[in-house]
Every structure is written in structure tokens, then in C-alpha cells.
């Protein structure tokens, strides 16, 4: 698996590499220029020294002679402590100085110093030679004055400059790296701002992104906006479809049921009455199934973008109970509400929670015998436990974990109509809110207990 590439890291690395290359180039250039300058200085002094010696050449009784000036050599000792050698030759014969000093680059023109680098007495030496003509004979003698100096002072200067240049280069590199880090951050700020603007949105906020975006991101934002527009229309179509479907299915079924009941009353033959009763039962079943399928679709749809609205679970439970109370009354079933006096606040999707409660209560009513109690409790401890307990025939021997599977029904449901979706809906709602649905046998007797356990936030 490759790590996701980070624009910032890439930008930073690339800028840092550029800075490193520039720093290195800086160090090399400064070093080169400085050492050439230092070498030039040494050459100049050597040439000056050789010239000073050459100036003191004279002829005495036909012999070339030399009055070596003190300053000619002492000037070489003023800037460093390098070793100094010299040699004066007349027509190739050593007049004075170090006879073994190698002079490979002999000057060819008068007073134009020639330079060379040699190895002498264990050290690298720089030599400067000057050619003079001394008129001791009719033609004059060619005299070469050579002054040589070791280069340790030069090496020390070059080293010092290299250290300084390296220090400056390193400093430059660090500064440039820091700046490139800042630059990378600042270049990506619009991206982060946009990301923030998008992530801060609620789950159902699909308005186009209007945050100020740099030109480079405009196509991305446009694409995102058009995608969101399509999503928005698709979602609203789905929502419409669910509402529409509920309406389109329930309304005609209700009409058919009313018509069937009217017909039932008019008919006299028991076999006809029975047929109509079967029809009404089938209509009821269809109506309930359609409701639950739509509830399920709605829950699945809403779970994708869970709304986290603050709500009061007590009020929500009370409202749901109130809405189902007429249905319960038909079977003389009483709701025993054991609810806390104060509100129990919870952040979640009220519509989904209501659908879950509605389905659990509806199930309880359906499977409860006439003239019985359904107990509704809310217990708050580390979790919020919203439990509904009936006095029906319970879950029997059914596997409690499989009951929440879609279209799975208890083995003992008998002829009670049901789609097997009620607990699935409740389970999905619980899980969407980070909770669980707990099925258990009623504490007293055979009834069932369904608990919605939600995390207490």
C-alpha cells in the first residue's frame, strides 16, 4: 500500500532540495572565488618579492652580484608563517639561494613574472620567477630570480573561508527550508479553508461551495458543486419517492379497506363475509408491510447522513405512545409509562428514533393479548436504555440474534400478520446512533422485552 501523497510534503521537499542545491552552489562558488583570490594575493606578493630582488641586481667587475633586500623576504612573512625559498641564477648557474629549488616555468619575457607550483622540501610551494638582463658583459646576462613560498597559510585561509561559507550556506539552507515550509503551508491555506468549509457542513447541507477559492481549485470546486447538485436532486427524488410511495400505496389501500368493510356489512352469506374478512386482513397486512418497507427505506436513507439534533427522549417517547394509544385501546391494551420526570437529552435523528419506537410499540401491540399492559421504561445509567416490555407470548425458542435480520420473524407468530421488518428498523436506528438493540424475555412470565440502548453523551 502506498502512503497517500501529501501536496505539502512534496512542495516542501522540492523547495528544500532547491534550497540545498542553491546552498551547495553558493558554498562552492564562494570557496572557488575566495581561494582564487587568496592564490592571487600570494602570487602578487611573490612577484613583488622577486621584483624587489631583481631590482637589487647589479654588476661588479664583470660579475653579476646581488644585495638581497631585507624587505624582499620579510614581506613574505608578514601575512603568514609559510616557509620561503629563493634562487637567483645567472645564465642557468645558481648565483645564490637554494640551488636545488626546481623552476619548471622559466619566464621568457623580461619583467613578466612566471608562476608555477612545485613540490620542494616536503611541501607544495608556489613559485614566481622574474627574468632580468644585467649588463655585466657586452651582451648582458640573463638572470632569473625565483621566490617560492609554501601554501599552508593559503590552505588555512581557504579552510577558514570554506568553514564560513559552509556556515552561511547551512544557515541559508535552514532559513530557506523554514520559509519553504511556511510557503507550502500558505499555498495550501485556501485548500484547507475549503476543506474546513465542506466538513463543517451539516449532513444534509448540499448547497454549492461558495468559499473563496484560488483559480487552481476553481475547476475542482465547480466539479464538486455540480456533483453535489446532482446528488441533491437525486436525494430529493429519493425522498420524494418515499413520501410519494407511502401516500400512493396507503391511500388506495385505505379506500379499498373502507369499501371492503362497507361491503362486509351489506353481505349476508357467511362464506362471502369470510372472503371479505380475508380480504381486509390482506389489505391490513399490505398496508403495514408497505409502511414498514418505507420506514426501512427512510431509516436507511437517513442513516447515511445522520442528523445530530438535540432532542428529549422522554418527549419523543411520550409523543409516540400518544400516537399509538388509539390502536392499543382497540385491544384494551394499556401503556404503562415509567419515564423519568425530567427530560433525557440525546443527540440524534428524531424521525428515525420515532420510527424505531413506533415499530417496537406496534410489534408489542400486535403480539399482546387483549386487555394486557405494555410497559415503557427509560433508564439512564452509563447508557440510555429505552425498553418496551409486553405480556404477549414472547420470542419463544427463536434465536434472538437472528430476529433483527431482515424479513426474519419469530417461530411462534402464528397467524399474526407481519413483514419481519419492525425489529430490523429498530436495530438499524440503534446502530446508526452508535447503540444496540437488545432482545430479551420479559422478566415476569412469557412476554418479550425490546430495549433500545443508546450511548449517553
Amino acid at each position: 500500500m502506498t502512503r497517500p501523497t501529501s501536496i505539502r510534503r512534496r512542495l516542501f521537499y522540492q523547495l528544500a532540495i532547491v534550497a540545498a542545491v542553491l546552498s551547495l552552489a553558493f558554498v562552492m562558488v564562494v570557496r572557488g572565488v575566495a581561494s582564487r583570490a587568496a592564490e592571487g594575493t600570494q602570487d602578487d606578493i611573490l612577484a613583488a618579492s622577486a621584483t624587489a630582488i631583481a631590482d637589487s641586481l647589479s654588476s661588479e667587475q664583470g660579475e653579476v652580484t646581488l644585495e638581497l633586500p631585507y624587505s624582499a623576504l620579510s614581506m613574505l612573512g608578514t601575512i603568514n608563517e609559510d616557509r620561503v625559498f629563493y634562487r637567483v641564477t645567472v645564465e642557468g648557474e645558481t648565483l645564490t639561494g637554494y640551488p636545488d629549488l626546481p623552476v619548471s616555468n622559466l619566464p621568457t619575457r623580461i619583467d613578466t613574472p612566471a608562476f608555477s607550483t612545485e613540490f620542494y622540501r616536503g611541501d607544495e610551494v608556489r613559485l614566481s620567477s622574474i627574468l632580468r638582463r644585467v649588463s655585466n658583459t657586452a651582451t648582458g646576462s640573463r638572470v632569473v630570480v625565483t621566490v617560492a613560498q609554501t601554501r599552508s597559510g593559503l590552505a588555512a585561509i581557504t579552510q577558514r573561508i570554506t568553514i564560513t561559507a559552509t556556515g552561511v550556506g547551512l544557515l541559508f539552507f535552514l532559513l530557506a527550508t523554514t520559509l519553504s515550509l511556511l510557503a507550502a503551508n500558505s499555498a495550501l491555506r485556501p485548500l484547507r479553508r475549503m476543506t474546513g468549509a465542506v466538513t463543517r457542513r451539516g449532513p444534509s447541507d448540499l448547497r454549492p461551495v461558495t468559499a473563496e477559492t484560488p483559480a487552481e481549485l476553481a475547476p475542482l470546486v465547480d466539479a464538486l458543486n455540480s456533483f453535489m447538485a446532482r446528488l441533491r436532486s437525486s436525494l430529493s427524488r429519493t425522498e420524494d419517492l418515499i413520501t410519494e410511495a407511502a401516500h400512493r400505496v396507503r391511500t388506495p389501500l385505505a379506500t379499498v379497506r373502507t369499501q371492503a368493510e362497507v361491503t362486509h356489512r351489506k353481505l349476508n352469506k357467511p362464506e362471502h363475509k369470510q372472503a371479505i374478512r380475508d380480504m381486509i386482513r390482506a389489505i391490513d397486512e399490505s398496508s403495514r408491510s408497505a409502511g414498514q418497507i418505507l420506514d426501512h427505506a427512510m431509516v436507511t436513507f437517513r442513516a447515511d447522513s445522520l442528523a445530530l439534533d438535540p432532542l428529549d427522549l422522554v418527549a419523543l417517547t411520550t409523543e409516540t405512545c400518544d400516537r399509538l394509544a388509539p390502536t392499543a385501546d382497540l385491544k384494551d391494551i394499556a401503556f404503562v409509562r415509567r419515564l423519568p420526570a425530567g427530560p433525557v437529552t440525546f443527540k440524534g435523528d428524531g424521525i428515525m428514533l420515532q420510527a424505531a419506537l413506533h415499530n417496537i410499540l406496534d410489534n408489542a401491540i400486535k403480539y399482546s393479548p387483549e386487555d394486557s399492559d405494555i410497559t415503557i421504561r427509560i433508564d439512564v445509567s452509563s447508557d440510555i436504555k429505552l425498553s418496551i416490555e409486553d405480556q404477549g407470548w414472547g420470542f419463544g425458542d427463536a434465536d434472538l440474534t437472528s430476529l433483527t435480520n431482515r424479513y426474519s420473524r419469530g417461530s411462534n407468530v402464528g397467524d399474526v400478520v407481519g413483514s419481519g421488518l419492525g425489529l430490523t428498523i429498530a436495530d438499524e436506528v440503534a446502530r446508526a446512533h452508535g447503540g444496540t438493540l437488545e432482545l430479551s424475555h420479559s422478566m415476569e412470565g412469557q412476554g418479550a422485552c425490546v430495549s433500545l440502548i443508546l450511548p449517553y453523551v
Binding site: 646581488l66 631585507y70 623576504l73 613574505l76 612573512g77 616557509r83 625559498f85 645564490t96 622540501r121
Partner: protein, 348 residues
């Protein structure tokens, strides 16, 4: 077997000694044995035994186990031994700065960074090879018979004038170094000639007055003290000062126009065998100024930048390639010729 080995060594040592003795002239030799002996430090030096013995003894007291083989030669013989003959010593101590500089410049010295290098002034160290441990002015010594305290001339011009005005008093009674024989004398004369033109006038005047030429400061001081000489020019100040402690009849005059200050230097020859002990000795000598007792006993004035500040006439001779100039064959022969022409005058 053992005897044979010993005999061989003895023969070898004898041969070595003979060959060495043939080449350069040893003035004196002393072996300062340490018990127990761990190593031997062989020093070749121009300093007299009397001057250096207290230093060697103090060195041995603080560094047990090092025997010191001390060979005394003249400055030129020291040069001859190391430069020409390649004799092996662990340490070379000389008062001839120019010759020491030539040794270092031509690659006969090895580098060492002394422990207290930072405490040495810049002018007292060269290339980390040449270390100065004394500063010794060249002074004039005058006889009490001829000059009362404070009456002696204070400048070279005054001296020249005095000599010119009283030729009869001073004829044959002036002493100075024979620069042909003394390395120190040659160094001082060449430095004088660099500094001031008065040198040649003074030499001329001294030559006319039949100046006596000496090889060593000691003889000159003795002759001044005895009254045989009225004055001696360019005497090693440190010797004069230590002589003054036990000899009467003379006093020391530091001229006020300028005083050349010679630095006595140490170097570790490149072919030294006992380098670590040599380095210990270098460190020991550099710290000489913190040992007032040794300064007193040896009479060697240590490096003292304060004295130079106080007396601007003091001019320490600078290290550097400039010192090679008067060692140039042509330059040297010309200088000596001029000097001889000036000082060795046939009395008419």
C-alpha cells in the same frame, strides 16, 4: 653473548662520537643521569652549563626518569651539526635566531603546539616550530674606571661623538664581537645595520680606535670589569647582568635610541628520536617566566611583554623569512667584507 652485544654498542657509539667530533666542535658535554633512567633527552645548545644547569635540574625534579644529555656548541656549530651533518638531537637551543629560523624554514624542525601556546605572545612563536623562551637585550658594558654611574653615553650618536673627541683615551680600549666568529655577534651587527646607519659610522670609529674583537660576551665583560677595556658594545645583556651579581668594576648601559632584543629559541629537530620528552621540555621552558627561582638561578630573562611596553627602545627581533636574508651567501660575504673594511684597519 651479552658482552659481545655491549662491545658492539660501545664500538658503534665510539665511532659515532668520533665521526661527530670530527665534524662540529663540541665545547662542552655533560650527562645529567636520572635514577632510575627511563629515557634520555639529548639537547644541543649554545647556553653555558652554568646558565642551563639549574633549568635541567628543575626539569628533572618535575619529570622523573628523564636523563639529559647536554652538548654545548657554538651557534654556527649547532647549524653545522643539524643542517649539514644531520646529527640527531631531540632539542636544539640557540641564541642565533637567524640560524634557528633557517633550520625551521628549510624543514629541519617539527611542529608542536605547546600546552601554553596561548600565553606566548605572537612574536615569540613561529610556525609552531620555533619557540622563544627568553628575551635578551644587547647592551653596552662600561668600566667603572672610565665612566661614573650615569655618565656613559646614552645613544649611539653620543657614543660616536665621545669616541671621536677622545681617540687617545679609547684607543685599544673598546671591545665588540668578532662577527665572523660569533653567531650572536653577527645577528646583532646585521640587525643594527638594518635599523640604523649609525652602525657603520660606529664600526668605522671603533675600527679607527683599534677595537678589540671577542668571540664571547664573558671575556668582554671580564676585560671591562678589570679595566682593560673602557667599554664593550653589543654584549649579551643576560650574561652581563648575571656577571654583575658577583663581579665589580663595570656597569650596564642600555642605549636609549634602540636596543635589539634577541630571543633565545628552542626547536625540535625533525630527526629527533625522543619527541615526547622534547615536547615536555618545550612546555617547561615556555613556562620559565612563572619560575622566578629558575630565572634567578639561570640569569635568563623570560619573555615579558610588559617590559617591551614600558621601554619602547626595546626591539625584539622578529621571526620570519627576513632573518634568512643575512644568511644569504652573497649578502653574508658582502656584509663581512664591509665590516672587515670598517673595523680591521691597519694602524698607520
Amino acid at each position: 653473548m651479552r658482552f659481545a652485544y655491549f662491545a658492539l654498542r660501545l664500538i658503534a657509539a665510539t665511532c659515532l662520537w668520533i665521526s661527530a667530533a670530527l665534524a662540529y666542535e663540541i665545547e662542552d658535554h655533560q650527562y645529567y643521569a636520572a635514577t632510575p633512567e627511563v629515557s634520555v633527552l639529548r639537547i644541543i645548545s649554545t647556553a653555558d652549563r652554568g646558565v642551563f644547569e639549574p633549568i635541567i635540574e628543575a626539569f628533572q625534579a618535575s619529570n622523573a626518569g628523564i636523563s639529559v644529555d647536554y652538548t654545548i656548541v657554538s651557534a654556527t656549530d649547532l647549524m653545522q651539526a643539524i643542517y649539514t651533518e644531520g646529527a640527531s638531537f631531540d632539542l636544539a637551543i640557540s641564541s642565533a635566531m637567524d640560524l634557528q629560523t633557517k633550520l625551521a624554514n628549510d624543514g629541519y624542525a617539527q611542529s608542536y603546539v605547546p600546552q601554553r601556546a596561548a600565553s606566548l605572545p605572537d612574536w615569540a612563536i613561529w610556525r609552531n616550530q620555533l619557540f622563544a623562551f627568553t628575551q635578551e637585550p644587547a647592551v653596552m658594558v662600561v668600566s667603572d674606571k672610565y665612566f661614573k654611574e650615569g655618565e656613559a653615553p646614552k645613544t649611539r650618536d653620543a657614543l660616536i661623538a665621545l669616541l671621536r673627541e677622545n681617540p687617545e683615551t679609547f684607543r685599544g680600549r673598546i671591545g665588540t664581537y668578532d662577527v665572523r666568529r660569533s653567531g650572536f655577534g653577527y645577528l646583532m651587527a646585521t640587525q643594527d645595520s638594518r635599523t640604523s646607519e649609525t652602525f657603520w659610522r660606529l664600526t668605522e670609529v671603533m675600527g679607527r680606535l683599534d677595537a678589540q674583537l671577542y668571540c664571547c660576551s664573558g671575556d668582554m665583560i671580564a676585560d671591562v670589569a678589570s679595566g682593560k677595556l673602557a667599554l664593550a658594545y653589543n654584549v649579551l645583556g643576560s650574561y652581563a647582568a648575571s656577571e654583575l651579581a658577583h663581579t665589580d668594576g663595570f656597569h650596564i648601559v642600555e642605549l636609549t635610541d634602540f636596543v635589539n632584543v634577541m630571543l633565545r629559541t628552542i626547536l625540535i629537530p625533525s630527526n629527533a628520536r625522543n619527541v615526547s620528552d622534547a615536547q615536555t621540555m618545550v612546555d617547561f621552558l615556555i613556562s620559565l617566566r612563572s619560575r622566578a627561582d629558575l630565572v634567578q638561578a639561570s640569569g635568563l630573562p623570560p619573555i615579558d611583554t610588559g617590559a617591551l611596553r614600558d621601554n619602547p627602545a626595546l626591539r625584539p627581533i622578529r621571526f620570519g623569512p627576513g632573518l634568512l636574508v643575512f644568511l644569504d651567501q652573497l649578502k653574508e660575504s658582502k656584509f663581512l667584507r664591509s665590516w672587515e673594511n670598517s673595523i680591521v684597519q691597519e694602524t698607520p
